[in-house]
């Protein structure tokens, strides 16, 4: 059901943990739905120098968090804001349709972390225009099989 890349990121997640005195922290998701993603960023000269995550969720939520941190590490903040969930999916070699929302969550967690950084430092970014930190959690499709 998952690609080898997803399984690799799930089994050996990159950049797990937290950053002491992070410049921005974003947390999205919903405990009821079973996934919460938290991203920490350290920014220097507008570049994301370090990024870490903690995720409560399924295999693809953990893999999406991991691969997203790899994509973003070292990017400028403006470039990071352009990263889409599609890039996360592609980097994972694809996700099953019911798991697409995990990649959306990764995109949202990053945006939330940058928003936090921007708010704390009174900065404005083109990519945050019209951004609303109120959570808009994406939902799964429903199919059920039971044994």
């Amino acid at each position: 059901m998952y690609t080898d890349i997803v399984m690799d990121h799930f089994m050996n997640p990159r950049n797990v943990g937290e950053i002491e005195n992070a410049d921005g922290i974003g947390e999205v998701g919903n405990i009821k739905c079973g996934d919460i993603m938290r991203i920490y960023i350290k920014v220097e000269n507008d570049v994301i120098e370090d990024i870490k995550f903690k995720t409560f969720g399924c295999g693809s939520a953990i893999a999406a968090s991991s691969v997203a941190t790899e994509i973003i590490m070292g990017m400028t903040v403006e470039d990071a804001l352009k990263v889409t969930n599609k890039q996360v999916i592609d980097a994972l070699g694809g996700l099953p349709p019911v798991k697409i929302h995990c990649s959306v969550l990764a995109e949202q967690a990053l945006k939330a972390a940058i928003y936090d950084y921007a708010t704390k430092n009174n900065l404005e970014f083109e990519g945050l225009k019209g951004y609303n930190p109120v959570e808009d959690h994406d939902h799964h499709d429903v199919v059920d099989i039971e044994f």
Partner: protein
């Protein structure tokens, strides 16, 4: 890497003796049981002998047992067939919230067709209340359908008591015994049951074959229309290899029942104890004693079930979970919701169902692996550090 199967409630391997019994019915004795010639008559003989064997293990006359294409079909047939054939008596059916979807989705269809269904609550251990059941009975009630053993949390309902209540009120009583067969002694008369659903692939038999016990005198409509097979009640050329395999599996299960229960109960209790003692923030679900001898259902806080299953699979252990992600649905399983677990706890559920080929060594390995895997996932979880106060 060694592979350890702990998902016997999902399905079981076919035992060698069962397979050996089945094989000649694919090639040599391939006849159609309805044919007049020798091939047909051989098949017919095996069909009726198999029926008698299975019926014998549940204390029923041979001609009250009907083969179906599995447990789901038996559930559909029992509910739709009885409700439609007894419209003159009423339109009300009583069941409970933790039934298998074979029952629940059938009930939803019946509701759309104008029947009325009461879904009884269960308590935190998954038991229905006999008082609530009796109070739910009204003049229009025709039937009660309450499962024998729950497939997720293993809880065993007081079937004989429910049967007594049904008798007292002149109601028809059906039970889904798919998870009960081969795991608890069954006698349809002692249990006061009128209809009972079975499936062969949960008792080391083949998939796609099951059966419905129908007490003599119960009015029931056909579900599958066509030829005159199964005494005109269930059409379709009989699945002889399946029938023979089911009978062999039932026979073996019946002969070894006491030893099977004793062994699994020991392994189950060792597994639960091992987990609860070595993993903090874990909790066992279902009834502590009145439960399937091989069923272990545990919730681990702060982590999600699918991630847990994938990690266990990487260690060679096969289990299942009631988390939303594993079913692909939005909510965790209806059973875990019905016993009152909050969403965040139910998401971290794990079912390990043990069977005849598990060993004590495997159980101990499972506990060890769980300690590691749960720790690893918790270290990644933003919920865990909130609790640990580490951050």
């Amino acid at each position: 890497m060694k592979r350890i199967y702990m998902d016997y409630s999902a399905t079981t391997p076919v035992k060698q003796e069962v397979l050996d019994a089945m094989l000649p019915y694919f090639t040599e004795h391939f006849g159609n049981a309805s044919s007049i010639h020798g091939y047909g008559q051989d098949a017919k003989k095996a069909l009726e002998a198999s029926r008698a064997t299975i019926a014998g293990t549940i204390g029923a006359p041979a001609d009250t047992f009907y083969f179906t294409g599995g447990g789901s079909e038996a559930d559909n047939w029992a509910l739709k067939g009885v409700m439609k054939a007894n419209k003159n008596k009423g339109n009300h059916l009583i069941t409970c919230k933790i039934e298998h979807h074979g029952i629940l989705h059938t009930c939803e269809t019946l509701e759309k067709e104008g029947f009325e269904v009461t879904y009884l609550d269960v308590d935190s251990e998954g038991m229905i209340s006999l008082e609530t059941l009796e109070a739910a009975i009204k003049p229009s009630t025709v039937m009660i359908s309450i499962m024998f053993v729950n497939n997720e949390i293993g809880t065993m309902q007081p079937i004989a008591e429910i049967g007594k209540i049904a008798r007292k009120h002149g109601l028809i009583f059906h039970t889904d015994a798919v998870q009960a067969l081969g795991n608890v002694r069954i006698n349809v008369d002692e249990l006061n049951v009128d209809l009972m659903s079975f499936s062969a692939h949960k008792i080391y038999g083949p998939k796609g074959i099951g059966g419905l016990y129908i007490r003599k005198g119960i009015k029931i409509q056909n579900l599958i229309e066509g030829g005159a097979q199964e005494r005109k009640r269930r059409a379709g050329t009989e699945n002889l290899p399946g029938v023979v395999g089911f009978a062999k599996a039932a026979e073996i299960a019946n002969e070894n029942l006491d030893a099977h229960i004793e062994k699994l109960t020991y392994l189950r209790d060792r597994l639960v104890k091992g987990i609860l003692e070595s993993v903090e923030y874990s909790k066992s679900n279902g009834h502590p004693t009145l439960r399937h001898p091989g069923n272990v259902n545990v919730c681990f806080e702060f982590i999600e079930g699918e991630a847990l299953l994938l990690s266990l699979n990487a260690k060679g252990i096969a289990g299942s979970s009631g988390s939303a992600c594993t079913s692909g649905s939005l909510d965790p399983s209806h059973v875990l919701m019905s016993i009152g677990l909050p969403h965040e706890i139910a998401h971290g559920s794990l079912r390990l169902s043990l069977g005849d080929f598990n060993t004590e060594e495997e159980v101990d390995y499972a506990v060890e692996s769980l300690v590691e895997v749960v720790h690893k996932l918790r270290m990644m979880s933003p919920l865990y550090d909130k609790v640990k106060g580490g951050k």
